[in-house]
C-alpha cells in the first residue's frame, strides 16, 4: 500500500474521510463550449489564499503607524530575505484577484448563473467583491506613501459626501477629521482582522452554496439538456476538473512570479501630510470608473450637489446590482433580455470609464 493510501486509510478509520469527500466525488462539472469560464472562481479563490499566506508573512515585519509603516515596508523590500518577493506577490495578487473577481462576476452574469436557485450565491459573491474592493482600499494605505495617503484622503472625502451618515462615516474611517496615523491603524485593523473575518464567513457560505447547488449551465443549454438528457455532457469534479483547475493555478502562480520579479511593486515616497497633493492624483484602477464618473458629473444637477448625487447613484446601483437575480425570470426558456443588455452596458461602462480615467489628466 502506498504511503498516501496509508494516510487516507488512517484518516478514514478515524474521521470517515471517504464519507466526507463523497459529495465531491459525486460532483460533476457541465461540459460545453463556455466551460472554461468556470475556472475564474477557482483562480480568484487561489489568489485569495495567496493573499492570506503572503499577508501573514508580511505581518511578521510590518508595523502600523505613521512613523514606522513606510520604513517597515522599506525594510521588508530591502533587508528581509525574499521580502521583496512576498510584498510584490501580495500587491500583484491583490490586483489580479480584483480583476478575476470582476471577470468571474461578469461571466456569471453573461452565463446567467445567478438564476433561481442561485440567488444567494450571487448575493454572497457580490458582497465578496465589495469586500475585496474594501481590502484593496484599506491595504493601499498601509505602506504610508504619498500616493496612498492622498488617494485615501480623496476616497474618504467622497464617503463624507453621503447625506446624514457621510460625515460620521468619514470620521469613523479616518479616526478623526483628517487622514493621520490613526487612520492607518484603523485601516490596518480593517485589513487584517475585520475584513478577513467577514470574508472568510462569506467565502465559506459562497463555496457551500456552490457545492450544494452544483454548477449552473447557460439557460439555452439547460432547455436543450432537459429536453434531451442524452445530450448532457459532464466531467467529474474530482479529479478531472480539479486537476485542470490546478493547472490554471500554476499558470496564475507563474504570472504572479513573473510580474513580481520583472516589475516589483513600487514603494514610492513616504507620505508627508504637510505637502500639497501631487497633480493628477488618481485612485487604484478598480475605483477609476467611479472616480471618473464623479469627476464628470456637473457640480450642480438641478438643485442637488453633483458629487452627492453621484455617490447616492452608485449606492443605489450597488444595491440593485446585489438584488439583480430577483428581477430574473424563473423560466430558463424565457430569460430577461434587458438584464443581458444591462450586463453588456455595465461592462462597457466600467471598462470605458476606467480607460478614460486612466488616460484623463
Amino acid at each position: 500500500m502506498s504511503p498516501l493510501r496509508n494516510v487516507r486509510s488512517w484518516l478514514d478509520q478515524r474521521f470517515g474521510w471517504d464519507d466526507l469527500i463523497a459529495p465531491l466525488r459525486k460532483k460533476t462539472v457541465p461540459l460545453h463550449r463556455l466551460s472554461y469560464w468556470y475556472f475564474l472562481g477557482g483562480i480568484t479563490l487561489f489568489l485569495f489564499v495567496i493573499q492570506v499566506l503572503t499577508g501573514i508573512l508580511l505581518l511578521l515585519y510590518y508595523r502600523p503607524g505613521a512613523n514606522e509603516a513606510f520604513e517597515s515596508v522599506q525594510y521588508i523590500m530591502t533587508r528581509v530575505q525574499f521580502g521583496w518577493l512576498i510584498r510584490s506577490i501580495h500587491s500583484w495578487s491583490a490586483n489580479l484577484m480584483i480583476f478575476t473577481a470582476f471577470a468571474h462576476m461578469f461571466s456569471v452574469l453573461f452565463l446567467k448563473a445567478y438564476r433561481k436557485p442561485r440567488e444567494l450565491t450571487w448575493v454572497s459573491g457580490v458582497l465578496l467583491l465589495f469586500l475585496v474592493m474594501g481590502f484593496g482600499f484599506s491595504g493601499y494605505l498601509l505602506p504610508w506613501n504619498t500616493l496612498a495617503f492622498f488617494a485615501t484622503k480623496v476616497g474618504t472625502e467622497i464617503t463624507g459626501q453621503v447625506p446624514i451618515v457621510g460625515k460620521p462615516m468619514m470620521i469613523f474611517l479616518r479616526g478623526g477629521e483628517d487622514v493621520t496615523g490613526a487612520t492607518l491603524t484603523r485601516f490596518f485593523g480593517f485589513h487584517v482582522a475585520v475584513l478577513p473575518g467577514i470574508a472568510t464567513v462569506l467565502l465559506l457560505l459562497h463555496l457551500l452554496l456552490v457545492q450544494r447547488l452544483g454548477i449552473s449551465i447557460p439557460p439555452k443549454l439547460e432547455v436543450q439538456w432537459t429536453a434531451n438528457p442524452s445530450a448532457k455532457r459532464e466531467m467529474k469534479f474530482l479529479p478531472n476538473f480539479l486537476l485542470r483547475e490546478l493547472m490554471a493555478w500554476y499558470v496564475a502562480l507563474g504570472v504572479l512570479g513573473a510580474l513580481a520579479a520583472m516589475f516589483p511593486w513600487n514603494l514610492g515616497v513616504k507620505a508627508d501630510p504637510f505637502v500639497s497633493a501631487p497633480a493628477g492624483i488618481k485612485p487604484e484602477w478598480y475605483f477609476l470608473f467611479m472616480f471618473q464618473t464623479l469627476k464628470l458629473i456637473p457640480s450642480k444637477v438641478w438643485f442637488i450637489d453633483g458629487e452627492i448625487l453621484g455617490v447616492l447613484a452608485f449606492g443605489l446601483v450597488g444595491l440593485l446590482w446585489l438584488l439583480l437575480p430577483f428581477f430574473e425570470s424563473d423560466q430558463p426558456s424565457h430569460p430577461k433580455r434587458w438584464i443581458t443588455g444591462l450586463a453588456v452596458f455595465a461592462l462597457a461602462y466600467v471598462a470605458g470609464m476606467s480607460v478614460y480615467g486612466l488616460l484623463a489628466k
Binding site: L85, P239, L246, L253, A258, M262, P264, W265
Partner: protein, 421 residues
C-alpha cells in the same frame, strides 16, 4: 430700551429705517463726489489726466490721502477757482526740485508714518541724500532720479504689490528706464549695458524665471534710496550678504590680499558683476571660460594647484554621475534603492561644498570635501551594483521557477490524459 421695545410700532420703525437709509445713501454719494479734482482731471489727457480708477489703486488714496495732501487746494469745492486757489494752499504741479522734500515731509516723520504702517522705515530721504542720485540732485542736476521716477505717481503701489514698479521683480526694468537709455545717460560716464548683462545673469534667471524673490536685483547690491556703486574694496561685503560661505573662505585666502594690493574688486574679478553666469568647473580649466589663467602663468605653482583642483572636482562629479546612472537603471528595474538615492544627495552636497571651498584656494581643504563625497558615491555605486546583481538573480530565479511550473503543467496534462484515456 423699554420704550424701544414697547412703544415703537413696526410701521414707525420702518419709517425710521427708511430715513436712515436715505441719509446713508446721501452721505455715501457725497463721499464719492467730494474729490472735485478728479471730476476734471479724469477727463484731461496725460500728463494732467488722473482717473478715479487709477487713483483708487494708489496706496496713498487707499490710506485716505487725497490730491490736496500733496497738491493743496480744496477738493471739496466744485468751483475751480476755489478748489485751485493759491489762498487755499493750492500748489499746482509739484516742481521736480521739490519732490524729495515733499515726499520726505511725511515719510521722514516717524510719528505720522506710524499711524499707517509702524514697520515702514522713515530714513528714505536721509539715505537719498547720501546716494549718487541725491548728491547730484543737490548739486542741481534734475535729470537724476527722484522719488516719483521709481515709485510712480498717482497710482503708486506698495513694493509688495507685484504690479509696483519697485517690486523686486520689476526693479531692474525700472532702473533700466534711465540706465539702459544711452541718450539719456549721455554725459554720465557710466556704461548703459548693465540691464542687458543682468538679463543674461543667473540672478535674473532666479528672480524672473524661477520667481525666487530672494534673488538679487539692482537694489540688492546698490541699495535703493541710498543707491551707489559699491567700492572696489567693498564688493565682497555685498556678495557675502547671500554667499556667506564663499566670502568666509575668500576672506582667509591669499587672493584677498593680492586683489586688494592690485586694487581688484574681489568677487567681480572672476565672476563679473551684472552678467554673472552660473559658475562651472570650466572656470578652473584652460579653455575659453577659464578665469584663473587670465592672471596666472601656465606651469607655475598656482597653475598646478588649479589643475589639481579641477581634476578633484571632475573626479567627484564623474563618480556621482556614474553612481546615479547605475542607480537609475536599478530603480527602473523595480529595485528598491531609495537609501542609496538619498546618499547621492549627500555626495552631491559634498561636490557643492567642494566648489564653495574653492574660494579658499587651498587644495587640502577642497580635498577633504572631495574625499568625503567620493566615499559616499562609491558606497552608492556599490549599492547600485549589488541591486543589479540582485535583479539578475531574481530574473534567473524566475526563469528556473517558470521552467519548474512548465514541467508541472506538462506533467498534469499528461496525467489528465492518462486518467481520461
Amino acid at each position: 430700551m423699554a420704550f424701544w421695545r414697547n412703544k415703537l410700532r413696526p410701521f414707525r420703525a420702518a419709517h425710521i429705517g427708511l430715513a436712515g437709509f436715505v441719509v446713508l445713501v446721501v452721505c455715501l454719494g457725497y463721499g464719492q463726489t467730494a474729490n472735485s479734482c478728479l471730476d476734471c482731471h479724469s477727463a484731461l489727457p496725460d500728463p494732467l489726466g488722473v482717473t478715479q480708477e487709477k487713483f483708487s489703486q494708489d496706496i496713498h488714496a487707499q490710506k485716505g490721502l487725497t490730491c490736496a495732501s500733496c497738491h493743496g487746494g480744496d477738493p471739496t469745492s466744485d468751483d475751480p477757482d476755489k478748489a485751485m486757489s493759491r489762498k487755499a494752499g493750492w500748489k499746482g504741479k509739484i516742481d521736480r526740485k521739490e519732490i524729495p522734500q515733499l515726499c520726505g515731509s511725511c515719510h521722514s516723520d516717524p510719528a505720522y508714518i506710524r499711524q499707517f504702517n509702524p514697520s515702514l522705515r522713515t530714513d528714505q530721504l536721509g539715505q537719498y541724500r547720501t546716494s549718487v542720485h541725491g548728491k547730484r540732485f543737490a548739486a542741481g542736476d534734475t535729470k537724476v532720479a527722484v522719488c516719483t521716477d521709481c515709485h510712480g505717481v498717482h497710482d503708486l503701489r506698495a513694493p509688495s504689490d507685484p504690479r509696483s514698479t519697485v517690486n523686486p521683480v520689476n526693479v531692474a526694468n525700472t532702473c533700466s528706464r534711465c540706465h539702459a537709455d544711452a541718450g539719456y545717460m549721455k554725459g554720465y560716464s557710466i556704461p548703459t549695458d548693465q540691464f542687458a548683462k543682468y538679463s543674461t545673469s543667473v540672478h535674473h534667471e532666479a528672480l524672473a524665471v524661477r520667481g525666487d524673490l530672494s534673488a538679487p536685483t539692482c537694489t540688492t547690491c546698490h541699495g535703493n534710496h541710498g543707491a551707489a556703486p559699491p567700492g572696489v574694496d567693498k564688493v565682497q561685503n555685498v556678495c557675502s550678504n547671500c554667499h556667506a560661505f564663499q566670502a568666509q573662505m575668500y576672506e582667509r585666502s591669499s587672493h584677498k590680499k593680492a586683489f586688494e594690493a592690485a586694487s581688484l574688486p574681489g568677487c567681480v574679478v572672476c565672476h563679473s558683476n551684472h552678467g554673472i553666469r552660473h559658475p562651472t568647473d570650466a572656470y578652473l580649466g584652460t579653455g575659453p571660460d577659464a578665469v584663473c589663467m587670465r592672471c596666472h602663468t601656465p606651469g607655475d605653482a598656482c597653475d598646478q594647484a588649479r589643475a589639481g583642483l579641477l581634476s578633484s572636482l571632475s573626479r567627484l562629479d564623474e563618480a556621482v554621475k556614474s553612481a546615479d546612472s547605475v542607480l537609475q537603471v536599478a530603480e527602473s528595474s523595480g529595485m528598491e534603492v531609495s537609501e542609496a538615492r538619498l546618499g547621492q544627495d549627500q555626495a552631491r552636497d559634498s561636490l557643492t561644498k567642494a566648489r564653495v571651498t574653492i574660494h579658499s584656494f587651498r587644495t587640502e581643504l577642497v580635498d577633504q570635501d572631495i574625499q568625503s563625497g567620493l566615499k559616499i558615491a562609491a558606497k552608492d555605486l556599490q549599492a547600485g551594483n549589488e541591486a543589479m546583481v540582485e535583479r539578475n538573480h531574481r530574473r534567473l530565479g524566475l526563469g528556473i521557477s517558470l521552467i519548474a511550473i512548465g514541467i508541472v503543467l506538462a506533467g498534469l496534462r499528461l496525467y489528465i490524459k492518462k486518467i481520461e484515456s
